[in-house]
Amino acid sequence: MLRCVRNDEKEKTMNYNVNEKGYYGEFGGAFIPEMLYPNVEELRQNYLKIMAEPDFQAEFNQLLKDYVGRPSPLYFAKRLSEKYNTKIYLKREDLNHTGAHKINNTIGQILMAQRLGKTRIIAETGAGQHGVATATVCALMGLECIVYMGEIDIARQAPNVARMKMLGAKVVPALSGSRTLKDATNEAIRDWINNPVNTHYIIGSAIGPHPYPDMVTRFQAIVSEEIKWQLKEVEGRENPDYVVACIGGGSNAAGTYYHFLHEPDVGIIAVEAAGLGIDSGESAATSVLGKEGIIHGCKTLLMQTKDGQITEPYSISAGLDYPGVGPMHAHLAKTGRAEFMSITDSDAMEAGLELSKLEGIIPAIETSHALAIFNYKTFKPDDVVVLNLSGRGDKDLQNYIDYFKI
């Protein structure tokens, strides 16, 4: 009994949001070269102020409604629920303009960049979803857009490269390292060092130096904000029993969890990519395989050698193929606030096919990882489980075709 009370108190006093120094518990901060300091500091001093301005709010909300198509539906997945004997709701971020949650953040950041007087936008991209979302808002606002993308990813994501080019963006291949997302991020950071005055860097995930993880989380928080009132309408309560999201860097997860972080009744489930298996050497399950360290300007969990060299992750899903995880999520893992699960390539692919057949929705392979947990975790029949359907599977069609020999 006494123990119970103590746990409740701990639950109430634990803060899962960023503190004034930019940390989530022991994770976060801004470990950046001095060359980036003025840019990051300018953003840190202004982001909350700008986001609170009524005209910013008005423009952001109007674009989310009329341009992105928000609110995205909260859909009760009847056949999927029957199969797994629980109540599964899908938050349909896949129905957003450009096909994923990524646009929530790029709309917010382009408005931020304009108010900071920036005229040139850079971004990194893995599969190309964030690159497309950035190129889209740059076209919308008439700003120059440069997207860094690993040479290997450019070859395997040709349709998204074409989309970015149609939208007027310049796609620059990252030729260093493994020539994938991690290296594209390095190149974008180097570009920012070389262009310190007129350029804003739109980071696509809840990573990077403070204030990026918090800023991206706040722009994505619209997802959990909508879940609350949408669930109230259909279930008569704002809080589900569980929220579920896949995690690479963790922007869709951050948005899905945000308004539930301090609601102890809501279970938080984070789904990482196990690749070919946790112990296979070909994995991206950072919470299991990672150790505390510094990547892309923040202290967090990352996959690295004993010697502190960052290692190459692997996942069939380009969006989860990242060796780190956002500092907020590292804190959720360390404190036990979130339950971390990992799903292999093959389980994810099967779950993607299953959702297609049961609900008529072809999900992104990233999202398929989250969908696969129902085979591994049993929920009660009256549990309400809200899963963020973070993206649509159009971009992954070739992967599905190759995998299932369709």
Binding site: G29, A30, F31, I32, P33, E34, M35, Y37, P38, S176, G177, K182, N186, I189, R190, I193, N194, N195, P196, V197, K291, E292, G293, I294, I295, H296, G297, Q304, K306, D307, G308, Q309, I310, T311
Partner: protein, 253 residues
């Protein structure tokens, strides 16, 4: 007195050279250091290679990638350097990114540096504020000088803070760029060099980034105590051989 402070008191313009440990060959580290000293270089920055060097351009990135492929690690570097003070007298600085040091343990890393006779560290992604709050006492305990960077965009207030935390020299980045990307200095740089020079800082300044030959070395040292060459040296030993180090150094001054 720390060798860096002694060197800074000498009445001459200092030439400092950066190279990546473990490049071109894993066992070149000690030879390169000895040859640089023999040929009159005043100070050496030994680069501890990192997989993701954010502040570096392609030349140093590629040398780091190759050095890691060659098998360079923190432990290997410390082993290579364990007897370096039997033959080398000039100041030696280790330049590397923070994560490998964090994994080694910051205190263990500093202790090892002090045992070997390393005089200072340059860690581009350890900001001065974090250093000041969390690590300064450890560095001071082991007598290590930590060197901070300033750029043309660094505010006066921050330069003064960096000056107050520093006890060796200030690494003045010549222009907004990663290493190895600009050729030559224009009037913008001269204005910036003069502006800093006129601030009468407690610590002398040494200019780096964009120094590649006699002309840029002379321009830089007109306004500062010395200059650092990195990418141009790496490029030179890639295209020639480490046997040609005397030619490189004499071409600079």
């Amino acid at each position: 007195m720390n060798r860096i402070n002694q060197k800074l008191e000498e009445d001459k313009k200092l030439l400092s050279i950066y190279f990546t440990a473990g490049y071109p060959d894993i066992n070149d580290t000690v030879t390169i250091i000895q040859d640089l000293e023999k040929n009159g270089v005043d100070m050496i920055e030994i680069g501890l290679p990192f997989s993701d060097p954010l502040a570096d351009g392609p030349t140093i990135q590629d040398s780091s990638t190759q050095a890691l492929k060659n098998g360079m690690t923190t432990e290997v570097l410390f082993n290579q350097l364990k007897d370096i003070r039997k033959t080398v007298n000039i100041p030696l600085i280790i330049m590397g990114y923070f994560n490998p040091m964090l994994q080694y343990g910051v205190e263990a890393f500093c202790k090892k540096c002090s045992e070997i006779g390393i005089d200072g560290l340059i860690i581009p992604d350890l900001p001065v504020d974090v250093y000041h709050e969390e690590y300064q006492t450890i560095f001071e305990k082991y007598g290590l000088i930590n060197v901070f960077l300033i750029t043309p965009q660094t505010s006066v207030e921050r330069i003064n803070f960096i000056d107050s935390v520093s006890n060796g020299f200030i690494y003045m980045v010549s222009s907004a760029s990663v290493t190895g990307s600009k050729k030559g200095f224009g009037s913008d740089q001269e204005v910036y060099f003069k502006r800093i020079s006129n601030m009468d800082l407690k610590n002398p300044q040494i200019i780096g980034f964009g120094i590649s030959d006699n002309k840029t070395f002379t321009q830089a040292t007109n306004f500062a105590k010395g200059a650092i060459i990195g990418s141009a040296f790496i490029k030179f030993i890639s295209e020639n051989s480490i046997d040609d180090i005397p030619n490189f150094v004499t071409s600079i001054r």
